[in-house]
């Protein structure tokens, strides 16, 4: 557990204790409500995690590296953005991977597109987002994020 997660735990526990002290009944009532909401999500979350595992097997980091480093910048930017949308690899894998590519001289545009959609666009978590916030919200947010990721990538290509 990193320090931020630990801090997160500490804050949550302190707030819960305050809530319990202030109004025990209301807190327990809220727990029942949250249990309903989270219980409903749990199955989906576990399913999503196993999808992530599967995608990682099908699109391993080596493949991503090939896509990011391919010659045609425009097509590789779009493909990299797509790959970033589908996969969900941990930051401590993604940054060294992209870093190693950039140091050997690959264009940063596809790299940024990949890094940005990796976190901002969630194809795998889409079903859950849709369930919680509705189709229109999930679709609008993810499509806009994809578009902006490409814009961010192109802008960075110009600036840096």
């Amino acid at each position: 557990m990193d320090i931020f997660t630990v801090l997160f735990w500490v804050i949550a526990i302190i707030l819960t204790v305050i809530s319990l002290v202030k109004d025990q009944k209301k807190t327990f009532e809220a727990m029942k409500k949250s249990k309903g909401m989270m219980g409903n999500m749990l199955g989906e979350i576990v399913a999503i995690i196993f999808i992530i595992g599967l995608v990682l097997t099908l699109i391993p980091p080596e493949t991503i590296k090939q896509v990011l480093g391919s010659a045609n910048t425009l097509t590789s930017t779009v493909i990299s953005a797509l790959v970033g949308s589908i996969t969900l690899i941990p930051a401590f894998v993604a940054f060294p991977l992209v870093g190693s590519l950039v140091t050997v001289g690959a264009s940063i545009v596809p790299a940024v597109a990949f890094l940005t959609t990796l976190t901002m666009v969630g194809m795998v978590t889409f079903p859950l987002e849709k369930k919680e916030f509705g189709m229109k919200f999930a679709l609008t947010r993810n499509l806009l994020s994809f578009g902006f990721a490409v814009v961010i990538a192109l802008t960075m290509g110009v600036i840096l």
Binding site: K32, G36, M41, F50, I52, G122, T125, K136
Partner: protein
């Protein structure tokens, strides 16, 4: 019948289980590798979900509605946007952990734009991630990408707020119905707990609510439980009721 219902409610898990079953049959190596990959994320989930649970409880029980509306509501302006950015940035955990938090805030009056900011910032801006990025790609690269991303998040929040309205959101579980038992009326017959063990249980000789209905089907099913109760102690309020008000109406003591 029961199995069909469970399957209907868990389409995604079922589908994934089927895919894995198929993979284990035809390519056990890849299946094992996929399971191995998933373990890291399962551990991450277990570290974060309990915290999320507690935080949704705190938002629901401790934080007054007016405070959320003032902080994150439609008229909270730039200050609300910055607050949302900060909240998303200091949080820990994967983006799906942000969904319950966002939902709880939305229910209490946060604007759709600010929910977009929280979700996006939660996904993209993380202090440990920024440090990692600076280490492997340089401080310059990290800083420029951060500025561009934050700008994009604000523009996106504004656009989503214009396109998506509150009516486009699915009805929330607790908007669907709040389940309550009037302890003074309950005679402790246990009928409700026997018929709907998922939602009621007996503590001592009184029935208590275990779980609020999570979807419209559950509300429908639970209406039968209201009729079932011989003492008419079960109340299922169908619109978004302030539980404070219900409690007052029911005259349920706070002790």
């Amino acid at each position: 019948m029961k199995i069909v219902e469970i399957a209907k409610k868990n389409k995604l898990p079922l589908l994934v289980a089927l895919v894995y079953a198929g993979l284990f049959l035809f390519s056990p190596d890849q299946a094992m590798k996929s399971v191995g990959n998933s373990v890291y994320y399962l551990l991450e989930m277990m570290q974060v979900l309990p915290v999320i649970f507690l935080l949704t409880v705190v938002i629901e029980a401790l934080v007054p509605k007016e405070m959320i509306i003032r902080g994150f509501g439609k008229n909270s302006g730039i200050k609300g946007n910055l607050l949302a950015l900060l909240l998303g940035s200091i949080s820990a955990g994967p983006v799906y952990a942000a969904f319950p938090i966002g939902k709880s805030l939305l229910k209490k009056g946060a604007s759709i734009s600010n929910i977009v900011i929280i979700l996006s910032a939660w996904a993209v801006i993380k202090v440990p991630m920024l440090a990692n990025e600076a280490k492997f790609l340089g401080v310059n690269f990290m800083a420029v990408r951060w500025v561009l991303t934050v700008t994009a998040i604000f523009v996106m929040a504004y656009m989503v707020g214009k396109i998506v309205k509150k009516e486009d959101m699915p009805a929330d579980a607790s908007d669907l119905g709040v389940l309550q038992i009037n302890e003074d009326y309950c005679i402790g017959c246990g009928l409700c707990a026997k018929r709907f063990p998922e939602y009621y249980e007996m503590t001592g000789n009184k029935a208590v609510v275990r779980k609020m209905p999570e979807d419209e089907e559950a509300v429908e099913a639970l209406q039968a439980s209201v009729k079932l109760c011989p003492a008419k102690a079960i109340i299922l309020s169908l619109e978004d009721v302030d539980s404070e008000k219900v409690r007052k109406e029911l005259n349920i003591s706070n002790t």
